[in-house]
C-alpha cells in the first residue's frame, strides 16, 4: 500500500516536473526541473522492479547528461531569459493535436473493452527472472549473449559520437 502511494507520488512528481520544465523561461531552472523529473522516473523504475535501470538513470542521465547541459548553458552564458522563445501558435496546434491523439489512443485501449484491472499477473515474468538471477545478471546475460552485436554497434556509435563532437566543437583557427 505504501509502495502504491509512493508510486503515485513519483508519477505525479514526474508529470509536474515535466510541465514546469517546459514552461520555464530560464534554461537553468528548466534543467533543474528535468533533473527532478528524472529522479521521479528513477523512483518509478525502482517500484517497477527495474533497479539497474533506476541506477543508470540517475548516474547517466541526471548525473552526466544533465551536467553536460548545464555546462553548455554556462559556457554559452545562456542562463538569462530576456527573449521571447515561444514559436508561432501553429506549433502549439500540432503539438496539442498529437498529445490529444496520443492520450486518446491510450484511453481507447484502456476503456474500449470493459475488463477489470487485473492485479494478479503483474510482474510475473520479471520477478521470476530477477529472483533467480539477481537484477543485474538478468540484464547482463541477454546483453552479452543475444544482443552482443547491438552492444558492439552501440560502442561504435559512441566512438563516432566522440569523434564527431570533437570535430564539431573544435575552434576553427583559420
Amino acid at each position: 500500500m505504501i509502495t502504491d502511494f509512493l508510486f503515485y507520488l513519483f508519477a505525479g512528481g514526474a508529470t509536474l516536473g515535466g510541465l514546469l520544465m517546459v514552461t520555464r523561461r530560464n534554461p537553468v531552472s528548466a534543467v533543474m526541473f528535468l533533473i527532478a523529473t528524472l529522479f521521479c522516473a528513477s523512483g518509478m523504475f525502482v517500484l517497477l522492479g527495474a533497479h539497474y535501470v533506476a541506477a543508470i538513470n540517475v548516474i547517466l542521465y541526471a548525473g552526466a547528461i544533465m551536467v553536460l547541459f548545464l555546462f553548455v548553458i554556462m559556457l554559452l552564458n545562456l542562463g538569462h531569459a530576456d527573449w521571447r522563445d515561444l514559436r508561432t501558435p501553429f506549433g502549439g496546434l500540432v503539438g496539442g493535436a498529437v498529445a490529444v491523439a496520443f492520450l486518446g489512443l491510450l484511453a481507447r485501449d484502456l476503456i474500449g473493452d470493459v475488463a477489470p484491472l487485473a492485479g494478479s499477473g503483474r510482474g510475473a515474468v520479471m520477478s521470476v527472472t530477477a529472483v533467480e538471477q539477481g537484477p543485474i545478471e538478468a540484464i547482463a546475460r541477454p546483453l552479452f549473449q543475444e544482443y552482443v552485436v547491438v552492444l558492439e554497434a552501440t560502442g561504435l556509435l559512441l566512438l563516432v559520437a566522440i569523434v564527431g563532437t570533437i570535430f564539431l566543437a573544435r575552434r576553427r583557427s583559420a
Binding site: T15, A30, F45, A50, F69, V125
Partner: protein
Amino acid sequence: MSPTLAALGTTDLIALLTSATLFSIGIMGVLLRRNAIIVFMCVELMLTAVNITLVTFSRVHGVEGQVLVFFVMAVAAAEAAVGLAIIIAIFRHYQVVDLDRFRVLRW
C-alpha cells in the same frame, strides 16, 4: 482492452499514463519552444517517457525491455553530446541559440 494491458496492474497503467503524458509534454516543448537547449531537453524528456513504457512492459514480456532501455540511454548520451556540440558551433556563428534564426543548412 488488449491482452497485454489486461495483464498489467493498476500501477503499471498509471506508469503508462505518466509516460504518455510526459511524451506529450515533450512534443509540445519541441514544437513550441525556440530555445535550442530547451528543445534538446524536451527530446530527453521524450526518451525518458519511452524508457518508462519499456520498463513497464518488461514486467509482462520479459527482461528484454530493460536491455532496450540500456541502448536507448547510450543513444541518448551520444545524441546529447553531438547535439550540444552542434549548438556550440551554431552559437559561435550566430551568437544566439534561437531556432527560428537557423534557416540555412550551410554557410
